[in-house]
Amino acid sequence: MKGILKTGAKAPYDVIVCGAGHAGCEAALAAARMGADVLLLTGNLDTIAQMSCNPAVGGEAKGHMIRELDALGGEMGINADTTAIQFRLLNASKGPAVQSPRAQCDKKAYQYRLKHIIELQANLSLFQGVTTDLIFEKGKAVGVKTHLGVDFYGRALVVTTGTFLKALMHVGDAKSEGGRMGDFSAKTLSDSFKSAGIELGRFKTGTPPRILGGSIDFSKCEEQPGDTKPTFFGFYDTRGDEDLFHVEHFGQSKLGWKPGEARISCWTTHTTPTTAEVVHKNLHRSALYKGDIKGTGPRYCPSIEDKCVKFEKQDTHRVFLEPEGRNTDEWYINGLSTSLPFDTQLEIIQTVPGLEKAHIIRPAYAVEYDFVIPTQLTPTLETKNIENLFFAGQINGTTGYAEAAAQGFIAGVNAVLKIRNETPFIMQRHESYMGVLIDDLVTKGTTEPYRMFTSRAEYRLLLNAGSAEHRLLNHTQRLKIVSNKRISAIEAKVNDTLHWVKFIEKTTHTGGTFANSIRRDPLAINYSFLPIKFNKLSEATRDEILYQVRYKGYLDRDLRQIAKNTNLENIKLPKNFDYYAIRGLRIESQEKLTAIQPLTLAQASRISGVNPADINVLAIFLRAQQK
């Protein structure tokens, strides 16, 4: 049972989450599932968990993170699985570490299901209201004001307002306020942050036009069906029915469906030299190129004008046609993101084979927005200057649904731990992509919208998607967001894996150890010499065991490196340490260390510009203080 909505200072929630996008939903669900009393505020109930850009979830590094979320008790994986219309395992021809699940989802189904999950979640109140201001008391965040004149109070606040801060959209010369077409702009919130001393930056992103499928000539395009054997985000070998939170008792609910059931193909086509001509002719009218847009955009999502200018020699660029759902004929035209005026967009789209008669139903646009410079946050995503104020998602300068969801989960969990006075939940870089994401953001900051790549993880080989439950078991056990039954199942799986890896390493037959035979023939599908019992394990477990055996040399090398660094990871740096008082540090290091306030010596060593001698000097001072 849910209580009635609580307003005013006398009835504070444990956690208030502002914004119900991918970050906000995970934050609110995680906090509520930990037993906290949570309020989730959204500006628009109809756009909960909206995919503002393409209707796809996962992909390289992102798919890995969704697996990690799923292991810890996040919702994104299962929500994508039950609303997907096509699955693809990326890099299937490469090694397991860089294989990553990706899915096209039905946009509306995705939203509706997640909204329903939130509605059904115990301890979680949902309310439509635009947050206009934060309420501070004695340097702490204590509540929020809404445009209805109603105030809500909370012991901790998680702000996940995405691209909505002072959001300005551009279609050529035409400008309008809003974080997403058809939506509003959070105009006063930025000032509220600034007055609290939070430093903001400005980024830009863009989205392509949407067209009607009925106007596409598919005969000129190439079909891209999904994998016949889908790879899901969720781990189902450790789940019972009771772990499939409420609505996916398959077949009974319209909100989701059995993963892999509904299939729709994507299609590809390409731009032509004529496209480039049209772009060049109209370049002076692009909001981006005439200098109207001040924010920095992501290099990996270039607009069509960027592609035509920066890679002039390449005369065609691929265009992906992605269906937005089962109950709509709207198609997402991936690859034609632009800030050119609408008449030019019409002209451009006609130069693409198959789209000559395309009917645009939503224009492409660029959006500029304020973001919080993330080095002002600690690894729990709490702000350093204002206690109990957490930020998560695109507001921290990231881009992508998985990146947002990962941060939301971490902020939600840590908000609860904070008010309960418990040890924060911080993952190391070698444990998860989520750990890499947070460490990069708070230690290095970002100069463009931050997207996760597998190449950002120095221990990429240890972070294969299949091992997320293994890797994060101790955290899953501690947080207890997933059911005890599932935790037991994960423990059993991890034990099986350990047992079998050991067994394979030490058992010998005519060709030496089993392990040597496997390494000698790493591509084999079956190893007949392994006991029959091995084949009775789940496929996921067998894959993980074989991965650990086949890649042993490399995995061990990484593990040795990690062991070497634990010394530095274990040396904690005190809060509000006066780095200027340490004479041996260079001024550059003093400044950077003061700004970042690293938690450990290891984090300090990752700050660019802090060199090994600085770390030696710091270590000496810490030792001197301890004695």
Binding site: N54, G59, E60, A61, R88, L90, N91, K94, G95, A97, V98, R102, P298, R299, Y300, C301, P302, K307, K310, F311, Q314, H317, R318, F320, G335, F453, T454, S455, R456, E458, R460, L461, N516, R519, R520, P522, R550, Y551, K552, G553, Y554, D556, R557, K564, N567, I582, R583, G584, L585, S608, N611, A613, N616, V617, A619, I620, F621, R623, A624, K627
Partner: protein, 454 residues
């Protein structure tokens, strides 16, 4: 606090002097003292001894005075070894290189003092002075490194970094953006680029006066027709001294290298399939692989059976068997010479040794001929005057190893993510010379070279 690893540094200035002092601190100090000075049992502590320092490869490097200090009764509080050797840069480099081979790492500026402090050997009130000292030493080291990097070495290292960054950017692009707008994946191109990089690192390493000691060893490929006696030669050479057999780590490289020591040189011996024309596809594959092996070799030993006709060798192979890097073994001298055993004109003037691997006739000279051939022909005195100090040398050696790992063995394509992992370690190693190379630089290169993004 235990740091686990053993550090080493020259405590006196580098240059010509009467005596130089090298200090070693850490758990390896005792075993190194034992092996280097051939001691049985724990080395005697706190007294000055005289002895020949024997390198890991078993030959004496210098006549030294040394002292061993047991933990915690030493400057750093750890086990320490102090070696006083002759103050000649050549000898100093040799000794330090040997210590690295034994598992030491070059100390960071001020690291001895820091360890002393951590172990309570230095008064806490001196903390600030020590910090200043570390700062000063580090600044000086940075200055020195910068000065060196402005010269020819710096140029070469920056070129290397540039090439490895390109390779890595390309590899990463196809890993992280498999669905995007990239040109079709070219697997051969990067491998060729990698080979080029490896060759230039090797050249850089060879330019050091002590190259062979620090290098991975001279890769020596034994070639010849089937039955010429290649495998017997391998066995005899491997038995010449104890054959060191080591399995390398990894997945697709579960293979074994025979490593032998001749004189001061370490040789990696690779036996190959007999080279001849073949209709049998399987055999042809083996021969193809033999030729590929030969491409990566430093040195060749050709084995020929004089009781049989001279074999047909592919021209591509003949081209590689240049006189400075080839030794010919004319085997089976106990049998009469076949009338059609006519040495190919291209090889006629090469160094030869006549012997019988079966009867043992002539094999006494084998090792010394191999040694002198390597010494007089393969290893040239350095033409370039590139001064590489021990720290740089160690870093470049490390990069070299990782680049070779990245390449994989036997021309087999290595999984790209493993290749990337090796390349990254190579970049990190080069970063020890140029300053840390941040991930952002790889991304910059990636987005600069490829049109990424839908």
């Amino acid at each position: 606090m235990s740091w686990g690893d053993t550090i080493m540094a020259l405590a006196t200035p580098m240059g010509e002097s009467a005596i130089a002092l090298i200090r070693v601190s850490g758990p390896l100090a005792a075993p190194i003292t034992q092996t280097a000075f051939k001691l049985e049992g724990t080395p005697p502590a706190r007294s000055v001894k005289i002895g020949y320092y024997q390198g890991v490869e078993g030959h004496p490097l210098d006549h030294c005075a040394y002292s061993y200090f047991e933990a915690p009764r030493s400057y750093t509080g750890e086990a320490m070894l102090e070696i006083n050797c002759h103050g000649n840069p050549l000898i100093i480099n040799r000794l330090m290189a040997d210590l690295i081979k034994q598992g030491c790492r070059v100390a960071e500026p001020g690291e001895f003092t820091r360890r002393a402090f951590e172990n309570g050997k230095i008064d806490l009130t001196q903390a600030e002075a020590i910090a200043d000292l570390i700062r000063a030493k580090s600044d000086r080291a940075i200055l020195l490194a910068q000065r060196q990097l402005q010269g020819a070495l710096g140029e070469r290292v920056h070129e290397l970094v540039d090439q490895v960054l390109n390779l890595l950017a390309q590899t990463e692009a196809y890993i992280d953006f498999p669905e995007e707008d990239l040109p079709p994946e070219d697997k051969e191109g990067p491998l060729q680029d990698l080979s080029k990089v490896i060759a230039s690192v090797k050249k850089l390493l060879r330019n050091r006066q002590q190259a062979p000691l620090l290098c991975d060893g001279i890769k020596t490929v034994i070639i010849g027709a089937p039955n010429a006696g290649k495998s017997s030669l391998l066995n005899i050479l491997a038995g010449h001294e104890r054959a060191l057999v080591s399995a390398e780590p990894g997945t697709t490289r579960d293979y074994i290298v025979e490593r032998i020591i001749i004189g001061q040189y370490s040789l990696q011996l690779v036996d190959t399939a007999g080279i001849r024309e073949s209709d049998n596809p399987l055999e042809a594959q083996g021969i193809e692989r033999a030729i590929q092996q030969a491409e990566a070799a430093d040195f060749y030993i050709g084995v020929f059976d004089q009781s049989a006709p001279w074999p047909d060798l592919p021209q591509s192979l003949l081209d590689r068997l240049t006189s400075e890097r080839t030794l010919l073994i004319i085997n089976k001298c106990d049998l009469s010479c076949h009338p059609h055993f006519n040495i190919h004109p291209a090889l006629a003037a090469h160094t030869k040794i006549l012997l019988s691997l079966k009867t043992g006739q002539g094999i006494d000279d084998l090792a010394s001929v191999i040694q002198s051939t390597i010494e007089n022909q393969l290893i040239h005195p350095s033409e370039d005057d590139l001064l590489i100090n021990t720290r740089h040398g160690a870093a470049i050696s490390k990069a070299y190893e990782h680049l070779n790992d990245a390449k994989g063995q036997d021309g087999l394509q290595k999984p790209v993510e493993l290749m990337a992992s090796d390349l990254r370690l190579a970049i990190d190693a080069l970063g020890e010379i140029t300053g840390k190379i941040e991930n952002e630089q790889i991304l910059d290169r990636l987005f600069g070279n490829f049109c990424i993004g839908k």
